[in-house]
């Protein structure tokens, strides 16, 4: 389980996160929603220890990240797969090498098993033929899908997704949403999805956390969203123009 307690972070005097508390239950998909620049990605980076909080802490499976040595932190990070917003594929490697990289680095699989697993992952993201291509030869959406294949390759306990469907066509977005949902239901993977795509949120979320101006003023399930009264949350949801039964101002 991931617990975030009283976490604050500023950059150059600009408070990005302020006293944030959040629990990410195991085996569920938690969607972190909010406007651009609200601090969602900064929150995600704290979860995997890429940023150090000014105050507060992140606890992963009972281990407070701020109390770990660098070596221990790296062990904790191996429980995670992270899909970065831009994919963050290694330019010098082919798509297949990118997917195989964590397998070669952290597992004792044989070369044949590694190749097989990489094929499986590329097929899961519907890019079975992308293996030999370099990231520069792939579209933005394809890069993101290869990055997703890399993130799931070692079957991590937790997967963090930073805007997994942004820049993708609706059909591919649905595929990614299905994959995120399937990983949760079939493998028990815990997912944290940072997004402002409400269509995805409504398809995959078990829990939703709404980030607004560096705080999390609302958390709940999709059903709770229908009954939410927070004006800022409703304004955000309405801006996505989805008819989800939230009370509108004109109603």
């Amino acid at each position: 389980m991931i617990q975030i307690r009283d976490l604050s972070k500023s950059f150059g005097g600009n408070a990005v996160l302020r006293n944030v508390d959040l629990d990410v239950p195991e085996g569920e998909v938690t969607c972190v929603i909010g406007r651009s620049g609200s601090g969602k990605s900064v929150l995600m980076r704290h979860i995997v220890g890429l940023l150090e909080p000014d105050s507060g802490r992140v606890i992963v499976d009972g281990a407070p990240l701020d109390e770990l040595t660098y070596s221990e932190l790296r062990q904790v990070r191996r429980k995670f797969g992270v899909l970065f917003q831009g994919g963050a594929l290694f330019d010098s490697m082919s798509a297949r090498d990118n997917v195989e990289f964590p397998l070669r680095t952290f597992t004792d699989l044989t070369p044949n098993e590694i190749r097989q697993r990489a094929d499986e992952c590329l097929e899961l993201v519907e890019l079975p033929d992308a293996g030999p291509k370099k990231p520069a030869e792939l579209s933005g959406g394809q890069q993101k899908r290869v990055a997703l294949a890399r993130a799931i390759a070692i079957e991590p306990k937790y997967i963090l997704y930073d805007e997994p469907t942004s820049g993708l066509d609706p059909e591919t977005s649905n595929t990614i949403d299905e994959l995120i949902h399937r990983l949760g239901t079939t493998m028990g993977t815990t997912s944290v999805v940072v997004t402002h795509d409400m269509h995805s949120v409504l398809s995959i979320a078990d829990r939703i956390a709404f980030v607004h101006e560096g705080t999390i003023p609302w958390t709940g399930t999709v059903d709770d969203l229908h009954r939410a009264e927070s004006e800022t949350l409703l304004a955000f949801v309405r801006a996505n123009e989805y008819k989800i039964g939230v009370p509108s101002e004109t109603a």
């Binding site: 995997v48 790296r74 990070r77 831009g86 963050a88 680095t105 952290f106």
Partner: protein, 272 residues
């Protein structure tokens, strides 16, 4: 920068104007501390290190730093060797001096100084800039974050093979540079019509000391470390987008050249 009020005294205006200058030593000290820290963290190799992973990376870097640099290093030192001989002939037109001294002059210049320094300056541009641009791009495109998020020690994984490749391959490049420089010097001597290539080699052998080669090898090893480690530092700490990568690349080339000069002096003062 602090802007003093218009009625401030001249002393206050001068003080405010000089304020950025006072920050320079602090900034340099901070930068040097960060550089030392990066090197210490990088060479504190993880216990779960997979040698095969690093070996493959090291081999790639050795090719890129060493083998791929041979043509440009050869070209630069060939011309340096030729120029040294032309200038020696011009300066030593004295009937009291034997012509073979041209070879001695070239041998001393190339083995002690030009073979390493010209190579180092060329490689500040070719190797230093490439490493800084590569790591800087990895930084701004979140690839270094991706390595860290996977649980890999990105400092060790990225810095150690590049610095080791520099330390191992620069002496090889020095041998190539010195050989090409000396041979080209001989060719230019023959073409000049003033002395024969045999006279040139006689002069080169006359005052040859194996210690000169040892000195050149040690210097090139030091330069290899300086250039690659500074490039790793500037690239690894690049900020922003394309502009940040550009700045990191420029800093790698400029700082590399400056620190090569300091290291050159230090080596001469300590070893000669």
């Amino acid at each position: 920068m602090e802007v003093p009020p218009s009625d401030a005294s001249l002393a206050a205006r001068v003080r405010a104007g000089c304020a950025p200058l006072w920050r320079i030593p602090g900034g340099l000290l901070q930068g040097f501390g960060a550089y030392c820290l990066l090197m210490a963290e990088a060479f504190n190799l993880p216990r779960d290190l997979r040698p095969s992973l690093y070996a493959r990376n090291l081999a790639t870097q050795m090719v890129q730093v060493g083998i791929d640099s041979i043509p440009i290093v050869s070209l630069a030192t060939a011309f340096s060797g030729g120029v040294v001989v032309v200038q020696a002939i011009y300066q030593l037109e004295n009937p009291l001096l034997p012509l073979s001294i041209v070879g001695t002059f070239a041998e001393q210049s190339i083995l002690l100084e030009l073979g390493t320094l010209v190579t180092a300056f060329v490689l500040c541009g070719r190797v230093g800039a490439r490493i800084a641009a590569e790591l800087g791009t990895m930084r701004v495109k979140e690839q270094i974050d991706a390595l860290e998020a996977m649980g890999l020690n990105s400092r060790s994984f990225l810095v150690v093979p590049r610095v080791l490749a520099g330390v191992l391959m620069f002496p090889v490049l020095y041998v190539v540079a010195a050989t090409v420089g000396m041979v080209m010097g001989g060719v230019v001597a023959e073409l000049s019509g003033v002395l024969t290539i045999q006279t040139y080699w006689e002069g080169a052998r006359l005052f040859f000391r194996p210690y000169d080669v040892f000195f050149g090898l040690v210097k090139s090893l030091v330069f290899g470390f300086v250039i690659t480690s500074i490039a790793c530092y500037t690239g690894y700490n690049a900020e922003g987008g394309a502009e940040g990568v550009g700045k990191a690349t420029t800093r790698a080339a400029v700082l590399g050249c400056v620190w090569v000069l300091f290291a050159d002096y230090a080596c001469a003062a300590l070893l000669l």
